[in-house]
């Protein structure tokens, strides 16, 4: 057995892509399936450099459709498998991820959002929210963590494997090009050193014993002949998803207690919003920030409570309302006015958020 990739804890100065590779190693991932696309490439590069040293594997496939499905196959074989992609690659992977949803397979997919529809830019956006949360045919019964920087990428990549294998829903780490390419400090660690136990994996196929005699038979289907048969399965998945959602939901609140303007933002944008809240508070403006960490399932009750106390809700995102749609759906019935500041494919700065909030008070 090769030694642990990370002993205890250590500080490092890394790009987000490097962080993801280290986190997957630390989490005990067995194999990455991948196809190159900017800004995700270096996850593959670092993984291929590091994995052989620790007895892990890598398969480069011919495209993202294949990377997604081989990842599904790896999971069926009981491997802690993952893949990573961005933009058009995310589009192609939705097919395999909706299969994972139907079959309750714990796939892990790291998304490094890039800008725009089609090939567009290789840089940055928050325009893959809808697709990552609800893409593919089906209902979007999946788990999506939106990270805001290197520490999140490390923590939530590890967590994604555990969430996926514990609840058996496809799990996504939704980063972006900025996080992929920027360098900042991070504490990397061996999960065990922090008391994090990795959920054991097990194969779905080729299990020992006689099916129906020694164990339940594996019932692996993604095709159904009858409407009512499908209805039952989907409703069962729905029931289970709703049951576990409260355990999975995560969010952060910054100065929301007495906030008159509540700024809702996720991912890297929440960093600008936090900076803005700090600056506004110094001016005596009561601003607060609500950051959903899980975009799916969404922290509905928590946001309702925070938004209900405010005089205004401002949604800030680097897309045209992909977060807003989820927010409005979640707080339906709320009378607090909701406005927005959308910058599709462009980063948001502290100064801009300050200006937008000032406009409201």
């Amino acid at each position: 057995m090769a030694e642990k990739p990370i002993q205890g804890e250590k500080r490092a100065f890394m790009t987000g892509n490097e962080v993801v590779a280290w986190a997957a190693l630390a989490a005990g991932a067995d194999i990455m399936y991948g196809y190159p696309i900017t800004p995700q490439n270096e996850i593959m590069h670092y993984w291929t450099r590091l994995a052989p040293k620790y007895g892990r594997s890598f398969l480069q496939t011919e495209d993202e459709i294949s990377a997604g499905f081989t990842c599904v196959g790896g999971v069926l074989a009981g491997k802690r498998a993952f893949t990573a992609t961005a933009g058009p690659g995310n589009t192609l992977m939705q097919e395999s991820m909706s299969m994972a949803e139907m079959m309750r397979l714990p796939t892990v997919l790291v998304v490094c959002q890039r800008g725009g529809p089609s090939t567009a830019t290789v840089i940055y956006s928050q325009q893959e929210v809808t697709m990552t949360c609800f893409g593919g045919n089906g209902e979007g019964f999946r788990i999506v963590y939106s990270t805001s920087g290197q520490q999140d990428l490390f923590d939530y990549t590890i967590k994604a494997f555990n969430t996926a294998w514990k609840y058996r829903f496809p799990t996504f780490v939704l980063g972006d090009g900025y996080q992929s390419k920027m360098r900042e400090s991070v504490t990397i660690y061996d999960p065990e050193a922090r008391g994090i136990k990795m959920v054991p994996t097990e194969p779905y196929v080729g299990k020992s014993g006689m099916p129906g005699v020694d164990r339940d038979p594996s019932h692996l289907r993604n095709t159904y002949n009858m409407e009512d048969e499908l209805y039952e399965v989907v409703m069962e998945i729905k029931k289970e998803y709703e049951r576990v959602a409260p355990e999975i939901v995560e969010y952060q609140e910054f100065d929301t207690e007495d906030a008159e303007v509540l700024v809702v933002a996720h991912g890297v944008v929440s960093r600008a919003v936090q900076g803005a809240v700090k600056a506004l508070r110094k001016e005596g403006i009561k601003a607060g920030h609500f950051r959903p960490i899980t975009l799916r399932p969404f922290p509905v009750e928590q946001l309702k409570a925070a938004a209900g106390k405010a005089k205004n809700v401002l949604i800030v995102e680097s897309s045209v309302g992909q977060l807003e749609k989820i927010v409005k759906h979640s707080v339906y019935g709320l009378t607090t006015p909701i406005t927005n500041y959308f910058k599709p494919g462009e980063g948001v700065t502290v100064e801009e958020v300050v200006e937008q909030v000032r406009r409201l008070v």
Binding site: F13, E184, R271, G347, V350
Partner: protein, 188 residues
């Protein structure tokens, strides 16, 4: 309020601005500061202006990009035009004195504009290849974001493998760093 410096460095692909940004932030991190570096990545490698955004602070840093920089360094005519938008009334704008025909493109709202002969110094006194290290020296001289010792340690870390093969390169790089610092001395 502790240290907080925002830098935008821009040049033509191949001029080494990304390397400089990498080395500076690495040095700042080693010195115990929070540092964040993000390149403007896209098709710059295939011919375009390459921009590096650097932030160094004593507290965790917010958004990776920013509107107004404390210091903007532009190393080509296109870089001068491209980076004007990061200039505000408190910005120090540094450009290479060798750049021709940008008189009308220089920002008008900067706190100070400084033309430094980095390209000339690198070419005539040192070696054209250490041009970016001269610039790195200028940045450090202008901002004191990191100490000379840490800057040297970071250069060593990045280029040490080359220095092993040819120790003269170490001397050349360190000299370039010091000349860079000298170029801005007394001017900022």
């Amino acid at each position: 309020m502790g240290k907080y410096v925002k830098l935008a460095l821009a040049g033509e692909g191949g001029q080494g601005v990304q390397s400089v940004a990498g080395i500076i932030t690495e040095a700042a991190y080693e010195e115990g500061h929070e540092a964040l570096y993000i390149p403007n990545f896209g098709v710059e490698q295939r011919g375009g202006v390459s921009v590096a955004y650097v932030q160094i602070a004593d507290e965790p840093i917010g958004s990776p990009k920013f509107k107004t920089a404390d210091i903007v360094i532009a190393l080509s005519d296109r870089a001068v035009r491209r980076t004007k938008k990061y200039v505000g009334p408190k910005t120090l704008f540094v450009y290479d004195a060798n750049i021709q025909g940008v008189e009308n493109d220089l920002p008008t709202n900067a706190a100070k504009i400084l033309a430094i002969p980095a390209i000339k110094v690198a070419k005539e006194e040192l070696h054209p290849r250490v041009f970016n290290i001269v610039i790195m020296g200028a940045v450090i001289g202008a901002t004191q974001v990191v100490t000379v010792e840490k800057a040297k340690a970071a250069i060593e870390k990045k280029l040490g493998y080359k220095f092993e093969q040819d120790p003269k390169l170490r001397e050349l790089n360190f000299k370039a760093l010091e000349r860079g610092i000298e170029l801005v001395q007394g001017q900022v």
